[in-house]
Symmetry: none
């Protein structure tokens, strides 16, 4: 079922407000010998109090057994089928640095690399050059490389990574990476699979011929590898689909980029956890949907530091009353995927979901955790249905059929 | 969502091992006055111990309310959408006798029947002739019937049933059965719905004209009815999709055939329950996926013999330690469908699933049974997702998207 198409037909503008608080990588696994997950171990009186008056559930971001990246994880949260709307890596890289992509742009990930006299790659990452050197190289390239037939943009990302964007009509992304994946080989020639890809290939070739010349005397980065060719397709916006005037409160570029992708207004926000909630309060009157993104639960999980993940959850818990005081009609707390600290990585395990609303059948649970969410009234569902639930609980959907 | 296409993109080869133990027709219904199913009534300390450290769930082989045959039931277990990959009855008949079908073959179920002087069917099954007589008739037909435009194969199955296979390019299966379904009527003429079906129809007509002549003096079977015309389409293999080197340990032709259909290596195995586990041990080093099939749970259910079904489960239970000693990363125990002994037939009830893995959120259950599976962490899911779960728990899937 294309739930988003259905919701689009039924959505209506009302005064009710929705807060979606995403704790990145929230789901966990039991930590032995305690047998409880990070979320279950945390002292979180406010979240537990909220859970008592909420409906809980478990959601699969993409599908059973599928471990999502941050892109698919967030698209699902925003109600976009993450299989239909797969974001290419080049696009994600450009979004990550807040590059203002336009519909039809062709985005490519760039690795600065090192090649020897014969043109064989000796270091695929050029010793992970500094971001400063990266920025200097990008500036030099932009000053010297001239492309005909398209506008181009080259922006440093971090260390050896940059983003290259071509803007012209009819560019395709069916074209291979030039990264040979191993050292001691030359960059791969670009081969397109269709006419649109060939058009992109010719632009990229023009670019590379000049870039090679510009970089030849640089050390250690005297060459570039191109990866993840991807078309940017404009997404239907939150306003178009949900009639929501959505606001994104996130501190990391990737998540701001994802929010911008679906037409949210991205706010400036300070670096502390508290700043997220301050920003929410300041913008409360001006929006009806708020996406608030907490990154550090995921970082702690990825580092395998369960104690730190517990601490982040506890810190968020202390800030929860600042949301409830605002009295949103719908307050959702969940994650974009699980990141069990025992696995030190994103995982395929479903994600706990809490929806606080006056209109729910309350669950007889005493806490917000994986075990209680498993038994919750929302049951087990695909995360792409979260937005239809949010809209429904906020009374923002008309009746379907007569 | 085409989960198999997604899994195919994400699958990677690793050293971890998966065991899929299928107890055919495992699911049951409560037996009064005890109120417990066959599985719940069985004394099964090993399965219950395993359940305590596992994640449980309930799976629908095809969909809610749909009673699956063995073909769809197993395809779903193997991750092939059983609605997309419906196996035609002719193909299933041929697979059931291990006939080596090739891509494009057209397989037909044959009933030997009796007709009177006017050609009206007097017995649609010719009094269920013996399999021996069936084999003699098939041999006689093969010696005398000559077909132009195709190779053909005719093999006895059991009693009055045989399999007829045509091998030629461009044969279609859109053609009706000749079985009139009632006695006192002549066999129906074959009418094809398209050109490919007509090509098949002409071959079948050629065959039937001669067969009628060959059989005319035979008693009681002097005619044949053709049913279940079906094309055999080569399936993408386990190796292609999952990068698994799969091994099938099954004692009955149908299940060997189904395993061969998806490219598993089918092992020779003795007739006893124990032989299945011996075969597993002997082949442990050479494969990374093992499909082990226990038939007798289903047979007992079909016979309405709940006590025998309980006994079979208890016997399997005693053999479980021989699997756990091998330390598979993922050990799955489930059925291909339910066969409640109170119904004496396959049923539409969902099937209990147990997944034993170190990466699961353990369920707080004390036993493996329908009631505990209903509350399990896997929730209720379509069986076609089982393989994505197996692959995920075995850490054989890359992350989806960045």
């Amino acid at each position: 079922m294309d739930i988003q198409a259905l919701v689009r037909d039924l959505a209506r503008k009302t005064d009710s407000k929705i807060v979606l608080l995403v704790m990145d990588g929230l789901g966990g696994l039991p930590i032995e010998p305690l047998g409880k997950s990070e979320l279950e171990m945390a002292k979180k009186p406010n979240l537990d109090k909220l859970a008592k008056a909420s409906v809980l559930g478990m959601a699969d971001p993409v599908g059973r057994g599928i471990t999502p990246g941050s892109g698919p994880g967030h698209l699902a949260l925003f109600g976009y089928d993450p299989v239909k709307y797969l974001i290419g890596r080049g696009v994600l890289e450009a979004l990550g640095i807040d590059f203002p992509l336009k519909h039809g742009d062709l985005a490519i990930r760039v690795n600065f690399c090192a090649v020897d006299d014969k043109g064989l790659v000796t270091d695929r990452r050029a010793g992970r050059i500094s971001t400063e050197l990266n920025a200097q190289l990008c500036a030099k390239l932009k000053a010297k490389v001239k492309i005909s037939g398209a506008e181009y943009f080259l922006e440093p990302v971090k260390e050896h990574r940059a983003a290259l964007v071509f803007r012209a009509p009819g560019l395709g992304d069916k074209i291979n990476d030039t990264d040979p994946q191993v050292e001691g080989k030359p960059p791969l020639p670009m081969k397109a699979q269709d006419a649109a890809g060939e058009k992109t290939g010719k632009l990229a070739e023009q670019f590379m011929v000049q870039a090679r010349e510009v970089l030849k005397d640089e050390r250690p980065a005297n060459m570039m590898l191109l990866r993840g060719f991807a078309n940017f397709v404009k997404y239907p916006s939150f306003d178009e689909i949900y009639k929501l005037n959505a606001c994104a409160i996130a501190q990391y570029p990737m998540y701001k980029g994802l929010a911008r992708l679906v037409g949210m207004e991205v706010k400036e926000v300070g670096p502390e956890l508290e700043d997220l909630f301050k920003c929410l309060e300041e913008n409360w009157a001006r929006h009806d949907f708020f996406f608030v993104h907490v990154k550090k639960t995921d970082s702690a999980g990825e580092d395998g530091d369960w104690a730190r993940k517990v601490q982040v959850i506890e810190k968020v818990d202390k800030l929860i009353p600042r949301v409830t005081k605002l009295k949103p009609e719908v307050f959702i707390i969940t994650g974009d995927h699980s990141t069990p600290s025992s696995m030190k990585a994103h995982s395929f395990h479903p994600v706990p979901v809490l929806i606080s609303t006056e209109l729910s059948r309350k669950d007889p649970t005493r806490e917000f955790g994986e075990a209680s969410c498993k038994l919750g009234g929302l049951g087990r569902f695909k995360m792409k249905y979260l937005m239809s639930l949010a809209m429904a609980y906020a009374l923002k959907l008309e009746k379907y059929g007569a």
